[in-house]
Symmetry: D3
Subunit: 246 residues, 6 copies
């Protein structure tokens, strides 16, 4: 069930049997020579749609922009300031709380969102501690940080999976948008690894945007496998979350 | 050309022949008994996709959440605080400016976004006045405030077009998502009109969420007509904007 | 009755029979070659004083500074950032709410204030929705956007009324401050019309600050006619507002 | 010369011979049983007008609202949050800096404004230290903290001058607005003295709003004497300030 | 009793007999050729430790950074923006309020902290006025603004005590950290006096950082005398404060 | 070399051979029945002092308060809002940048500080990307997340090391403050493990504040071993950092 395609009366009805919601959150940032700028939003959106096919769970519209300051040396990247993203996530949760939602499950596609989104959770909890009403519960599910996903990526690509513009995320985005598959030659095959400081430092060390990956290996077929794994794993995790079991 | 489906190198190439971009912006809010909560994001997204089919213009990911505080008495509505939306729009423009974009054309689906978005434009202009670099140009195109659109709505529905959950926007959203068409009986046929103060006042005066409209009249076929008109009108307006002619 | 000339005990007494207040809000910005920089504050202040002569309504001190970023290319203009004006209006309303005021009627002299002031109203309503106590009611009355005023301006000046540094506002400010009437020659008689982007763009298109007007036509006598019309129209509107009739 | 009654061209001309400006700043707050709520704005406004009569100095419109949180237990008091006042003062200075003003002389009527206004000065200086352009110079002249004023008050009223709703400020406001003189009996003659914490504590200790004063002694004639002294003292201080001598 | 060296159960026990706490607050800023950059934090920290030796009073960890924008032209100075310090002090008080503390006694070492800290107190009071629960009480005790201290400084050093990098504060910091005593020659013996505007103006007028002082006179022995006086005076003042006697 | 015990001239001299600085950052929060509320500040402070003994590295005053919202259900905990901590860290870095420092090495004692501090780094980098001057380099060294430390803790305590109020941190704080060692009986020996949501949830699941640890095992002697390991490891890491090798 998609919030965007529902009426308010349908949401009222949904709230009678569940107060949980899934909110996909991504980023709009460079993903190397063959990765899509929308990768980090596309993956959570597609995974959420897969979950929706299997269970009566409400899916909110995707937050398409995230915190990507360190990618700003590459054209097309858009970044929110961390403070903006904190406010945005806070406003989304606060609005939904007002209608009776209590469990907020964010499916996240981008590592850079973790500090601001978890910070928003802290603020939500802190504010709730001073109010009456049911205590909110928030979780940030980073789809790629999952034993099933990392095991498959290791099996398929070994060291070529990498750390940004990874093969698995490019594959999943290709599965979601096969019309956007790119054939681009890259050199070296596997991008270098390392730590980054600022955006200029990033560009200097990783001139085509990839970190440690060879996304030329990404295929639609592999993407579907990652997608299925992610749907199953996150649906199970959501059910645990909503049941209050952890 | 969609930003989300491009690589950063493709954006670099685009910037060599154009520094303009279209950014759809909507809201996630109640639209009466048969209108979709995502209506205000769906319409600009679909219109932008139509423009993209006709011209080599870059389309950014949709901003799915807007300023909808006055709709908060209806389940499922999500609102950003005005300050959050101002920051969000400012961050999106500022990021794109850094890559060389100069013309920011927002296609908007929601009246409540107008004060915060135009405020963000003021702040962008004010900041730019103290910097070097090309002066940014911003426009907020409210797709429904258009002579062609209002003429067709008047012709088709007369007084039943209304002011919120209008027939035309519901029709356009149905054209975009025919799988979500709802058959819901409403009473009275045409909702009352009037001014609103706060969210409680809204609900009291307009208990099913509509203002002045009879969206039961909305059809996919009508929606397609509004869509075509909007694509043509906004594409023409974008071209004028980008040419600097006004 | 003026708040500034009252004691706190007199305000306590006033609150026993009315919880409404009028707050004049203006701007400090260029108004062309013969218009006063204080025009937008002077007009609401003078109209409010006229209302006070006719009815037992409390008038707050004038907010003399507004949002005028687009006039900053002309010497003497002072602008608040929109966020500052939003906070300022919010603080004024919030303070008065604490004493029991419920109806806040702003008489505004400047179009650029509309987005921030209505945004402040939204925030006030949103906060009130989460508190107990009587629901606040806010209205922004833009004195020049009034059928009586526009009809008289059309009758007297036709196309020369214009859009900034209009004949009617210059006339009204001359009526309020006849000691400040300026005799300045302008060329062309009627300033050009058009849209503006930023402050530099404004100065480029409208080099003497006027938009579409010939304020050389402004006289004290005309100003008095606009003043009388505005007092009557806004007093009537205030009474409707305070009665809760709309 | 008043900014509000000037044209932008007149300000351009003024800037050729002076880059200094006087900005009256007050508060809208209780001043005991016979003191005017506008006292703290009325006094600086009237003193500034007196200075203007004697010298070619530009006077800005009065900032009518200040920081008065501790007076909020008395009806009619309006307070800005300190952060709002800091932003407001910062915006006024920043705007005027852009036109070439360098010396900002605030004539203040209210002790509670001192921390936020001096804080704004610090921020202005700190920002200027990172920019090019002439260094700004700001001064906050608290009209009542002046040897001439305190000597006259001591001579006329001794201990009855007090600390809030003082005889001298009530007298000066009566001189400015003789139509608003109030005859109110007070008991005790001289209000108690003491320290305050919050607004409730203030009301408890000083139930009619006065601290240590007997403002029943205030007369228009005395007010004129304070006015003359203040005009002379502050004009001299302004000249020293603008000359850079201190 | 030091908060940092206690367990939470010990704090629970303390709260059964007292709801007061002392919070030392300093600054990290230049103090002339022989004064320590930490002087303003060292003095309140040492005085608080002395108080703790004499009475069962809880001492919080020191706030080591303050508002020192005007010292920024000297290496090693660190300044918080005033808004940061206001938030910091507000957060510290608000947290402690939640546990039941009601009396917040800040021992301050730096004049520049006074506006932001007292502003934070105003905000705390204002917020408390809208809540239930015991009213908070805050005091800012500036250790050097004390009749005993100023009398001793006058007796020992006369005019050489000065206004920044004073002999007394350097002496007290030497008593606290005898290992850091510096022997530095200064010229002139007594630094000049005067008012300052911004950081550049400060450095120009007071090239070695001192204002009006000859801190070469500072000794550990004198420092101990100031320390003893400050401990006695502030302990007595704290007792009055906590008793509610003023 | 300690910043607090230096003069500004000594800092100028230091900057001639190094532009790096170490900044200890902690928290003031419950650490179970025998752990000190200051543990997270005490450990980084003591480790920094140890580094200072071995190398000519400048140590800034400790930031004693951190982000501890989830510990607020235990008396004595003080938390900064995340936004406050972000501003605080930003101001400290920005101030030091102005004097020529380029490498900012934070030794951190508290996991809850990681999101806000790394967020501050992002903002610093983003701002620097728009300025001239040397690019800043920031690192957050969490002393307990270190192979040497975790290996020793595993060897000494196995599963009893835990996740909050760990044996290792309590031991290190005891080494730093042997006068504050507490003998407290705890039950069960090893506290439970689990995830937390808000502060109330924390208290419910972990009623004495510990997570997974048995800090009764902590000794001064063990603390010294952790201290020595941390000094060696962080000093080596600092040298790598400052050399630009990673
Ligand atoms: Ni990614
Ligand atoms: Ni709509
Ligand atoms: Ni106007
Ligand atoms: Ni006063
Ligand atoms: Ni000092
Ligand atoms: Ni810890």
């Amino acid at each position: 069930m998609q919030l965007a395609l529902s009426t308010w009366q349908e949401i009222e009805a949904y709230l009678e049997h569940s107060t949980g919601i899934i909110i996909p959150i991504g980023s709009t940032e460079q993903h190397g020579p063959n990765g899509l700028i929308g990768t980090d939003a596309i993956c959570p959106t597609r995974i959420s749609a897969g979950i929706e096919e299997q269970a009566d769970i409400l899916i909110a519209p995707t937050i398409n922009y995230g915190m990507a300051q360190h990618h700003m040396a590459f054209a097309g990247t858009v970044t929110l300031r961390p403070s903006t993203l904190i406010q945005l996530v806070t406003d989304v949760i606060t609005s939904l709380q007002q209608h009776g939602f209590t469990h907020f499950y964010f499916i996240n596609g981008h590592g850079g969102n973790i500090p601001p989104v978890t910070t928003a959770f802290c603020e939500i909890y802190h504010a709730a501690g001073k109010s009456v009403g049911p205590a909110p519960r928030c979780r940030l599910a980073n789809w790629w940080r999952n034993d099933h996903i990392t095991a498959l990526a290791a099996e398929l690509y070994g060291d070529a999976e990498g750390h940004h513009a990874t093969v698995s995320e490019v594959a999943l985005s290709y599965f979601a948008h096969p019309e956007a598959v790119k054939n681009v030659s890259m050199s070296p095959d596997i991008a270098p690894n390392g730590e980054i400081y600022d955006a200029a430092d990033y560009r200097l060390k990783f001139p085509d945007g990839r970190i440690g990956s060879n996304p030329a290996l990404a295929t639609v077929a592999d993407g579907e496998r990652f997608y299925q794994l992610a749907v199953d794993a996150l649906l199970a995790d959501y059910k645990t979350f909503i049941s209050g079991a952890s």
